[in-house]
């Protein structure tokens, strides 16, 4: 079983914090792109005839910038070439694109069963400052439309530690989000990535972000508020009602297999990691010649696989299974990481519950400190 990630690199507006592979949609060969994406499904799956796809995630960019007809074409292609039979099927969506039900209806009618909506904040001032084009009223309309069409499994994203964001402001967004009574929420602190508008502002000294202490308060507030609302934290940034955890995202954190389709997409098939050409034309060209558009393949040495088992697995609140580690790699975890585990437990960042290693409450806040420790020293 494997996941399938499908990348739609088009946007109508570029958000100031986003460093994903994306371009302005205007003037782009979108129809061609969709055709070639479907061609990629066909070529890649032919190489793995026995593989089954149990989750699909269409992300971006902005997948909902596609027209209803393009969406229809894409999903038809998915059903035609991906050996998928009805597992979790998520589409990322922008509130602007859900102001009527046209696109929602296409998604719903073709088996999409989960929506992840990029809300980020309920403060219109902040939305403007981070380059989002929607406003909070649009969010309510979008969710209303989604419910009307019949979507129940909906997640929204919130970002904290935004420029000039106060604790009170984030709390307000948090409460408004929870009041929507959705089954799933993601919330994460702003990361400054290179090649973003924010990064450039930061280098010019023009970006004023809340301090690390404020950021920690915001994160604590999110954990507490979601928990009080019956949403369990199952990953560092993710909260869900029972039964609504994102199966697709868990694939990444459990270090399991997934295909990556589309420009700049990453795939991981056990030992092989590969990624596709990012620029649209470079992605399309090889496909026209019936070649997969992979720019780089990397066979992960055992050490890297082990490191990732830990630094991804520990992101989940379930943690990493010591038995599973031994089954998967044929090495006892104790042999590879005995000292590190003891050290991290002594620091109070890690705990062991029977077969499971997990982050403590403090550890959740300082995950990178723990993850680094699990990088083996040959690096």
């Amino acid at each position: 079983m494997a996941g399938a990630y499908i990348h739609i690199p088009f946007c109508e507006h570029i958000c100031y914090y986003c460093d994903f592979n994306k371009v302005f949609i205007e003037g782009q060969p979108v129809d061609d792109y969709v055709e070639m994406l479907i061609h990629e499904f066909q070529l890649v799956m032919a190489e793995y005839p026995d593989e089954k796809i149990d989750t699909i995630y269409v992300g971006g960019g902005t997948p909902t910038t596609l027209t209803p007809a393009q969406l229809q074409r894409l999903i038809n292609g998915i059903h035609q070439y991906l050996p998928y039979d009805g597992g979790e099927f998520t589409f990322e969506a922008n509130p602007n694109d859900l102001q009527d039900t046209a696109k929602l209806q296409v998604l719903k009618d073709n088996g999409v069963n989960r929506l992840s909506i990029g809300v980020q904040s309920f403060n219109d001032q902040i939305l403007k400052k981070i380059g989002r084009i929607h406003r909070s009223a649009d969010v309510y309309q979008a969710i209303d439309n989604a419910h009307r069409v019949g979507f129940e499994n909906i997640s929204i994203d919130l970002i904290f530690r935004l420029p000039q964001q106060s604790e009170a402001d984030f709390m307000d967004s948090l409460h408004k989000a929870i009041a929507l009574d959705l089954p799933h929420y993601s919330t994460y602190s702003l990361i400054l990535e290179r090649k973003t508008i924010f990064y450039n502002l930061m280098r010019q000294g023009k970006l004023h972000l809340p301090s690390q202490d404020v950021e920690a308060h915001m994160y604590q507030a999110a954990i507490d508020s979601f928990q009080n609302a019956g949403l369990e934290q199952y990953e560092i940034s993710n909260f869900a009602k029972p039964g609504f955890q994102s199966a697709h995202n868990l694939t990444y954190w459990r270090n399991e297999k997934y295909f990556g389709f589309g420009a700049g997409a990453y795939g991981y098939l056990g030992k092989d990691r590969y990624h596709n050409f990012g620029p649209i034309q470079q992605y399309i060209e090889p496909l026209k010649a019936n070649k997969v558009p992979v720019i780089e393949r990397h066979v992960l040495p055992l050490t890297e696989q082990m490191e990732e088992e830990l630094f991804l697995g520990l992101r989940t609140m379930q943690g990493v299974s010591i038995d599973h580690f031994q089954d998967k790699f044929n090495y006892p975890l104790q042999t590879v990481y005995g000292e590190t585990v003891a050290d991290q437990i002594a620091k109070g960042y890690l705990k062991q519950d029977g077969d499971w290693l997990r982050l403590t409450e403090t550890g959740k806040f300082l995950g990178n400190e723990v993850f680094q420790a699990f990088l083996l020293d040959s690096y």
């Binding site: 690390q212 202490d213 950021e215 940034s237 990444y252 990453y266 990691r273 806040f365 400190e369 990088l375």
Partner: protein, 612 residues
Amino acid sequence: MDYAEMLDRQKHIRNFSIIAHIDHGKSTLADRILEMTDTIAKRDMQAQVLDDMELERERGITIKLNAVELHYQAQDGETYIFHLIDTPGHVDFSYEVSRSLAACEGALLVVDAAQGVEAQTLANVYLAIDDDLEIVPVINKIDLPSAQPDVVKAEIEEMIGLDASEAVLASAKSGIGIEEILEKLVTDVPAPTGDLKAPLKALIFDSIYDSYRGVVLNVRVFDGMVKVGDKIRLMNNGKEFEVTEVGVMSPKAVKRDFLMVGDVGYITASIKTIQDTRVGDTVTLADNPAAKALDGYRHIQPMVYSGMYPVDNAKFNDLREALEKLQLNDAALEFEPESSQALGFGFRCGFLGLLHMDVVQERLEREFNLDLIMTAPSVDYHVDLTDGTEVVIDNPSEMPETSNISEVKEPYVKASIMVPNDYVGAVMELAQRKRGEFVTMDYLDTYRVNVIYNMPLSEIIFDFFDDLKSNTKGYASFDYEVTGYRPSDLVKMDILLNGESVDALSFIVHRDFAFERGKAIVSKLKETIPRQQFEVPIQAAIGNKVIARSTVKAFRKNVLAKCYGGDITRKRKLLEKQKAGKKRMKSVGSVEVPQEAFMSILKMNDEDTKGK
């Protein structure tokens, strides 16, 4: 070549160097001369040809001297052999200047037509005059709109006492006056005078280590000749080697059959041991040795000391080897092993000044791939103890207990600052703040002033030069000489991290400035030391008295928030980077301290010390 031909050749040799202030156009002039003499084809020309050290090009300065041979067909129809020995201009490297001057019979004095004679030029031209060199004045940049060649000529005559009436008016950038300069070298600079038949005497003015050929000696031959196969003797230690190659730099190495009187070139002789060769030593022949060595160089006393430690303690021996190799062609660098509680094993190194220290550090990091921690620089203090003895302290952490000290003396310098009169006020204000005592001030012409101060050397090595530049918009030039030791009310400032005194961070400060310096360094350290697992108190203390404190907060949150899309590689890189960053830090007790923290005291600017 027979004897008569050699004698004739000797008459056609001209050895010279170029004396100039930074930015007055020395490297450009050297480039032009190389072009004019077809030493370098135009297409191979890159700016600053002689500055081949990466660091030199980046900073636009000359650090190491370089010697190059060129051939010039003069207007008298004869071809002359020129040896251009390039020299550094910065005050820290005046030692290198005197080494190169010793190999020359003449020098071009290059003065900027708009800016006039600068303090450093003055110092170097006096060195040349002391060595009886023929000075050829060149007024450069005459095509600048602000050029005032007549004013500059008058300055040269008044300040240096040279006849400037025939000074060459040139623009190295535009190629004006270059030929006239070359002709002057032919007519004015004397040919070398040594005796071709006398036993070999060659002065080692520089040497480098080459992993294939061993030590390469750069020499100026004063008497006799040397060729491949000769057995040479180094007069300092009597060691003998067989010559495997001789040649000249043109500017790449070119093999020759021999080097003779007046030549400036290199010798290799399978010398494997770096310690065997010493700059300033005389090379002679084993079977026909010279009776007496040439006057070597005076031993140069370092002015500034700093501890150098490998970040990784296991690299101690690598650091030692690297220092030995650097010392080969940087005779002013001194080092001896020392240890620090905080930093482990390292070396106490002596430098000529801060720029020299910077350059050594960067060369060690670049050329030898070492990660280093340097402690804040210090000068040599003379400490009289209550028991009547005197100790010399170059490491603040070794300062004796206050109760055992009867008096501390520190080195003072006479600082001479040349500046347009508009900036005299700014200079005086700065000098006063650096504990300077006004001595005198002379008008050089209608608008330039030479201001003389007595100042503690320790104030100069900190940030005086930078401050001077910024307070005078870069118009001031500056030179100093050490005049002696004077008693001062000095105290040792200890820095405590997490309650523990860190020896590598302590420094000596005048009591009157202790409070503001302490406050400034504490706040600087707070910025430099990253958050850690626990709160880290930082304190500055004199004896048991804490005079400033601050706290680095414990870290609260450090976790990659978003981790989707399967791009694990980048997340991994970020984690690896964070981990590598930690490795570059030094664990001092339980506190991780980054390299820069140890230099914090140097990085305090005026704003910090004015106690904002």
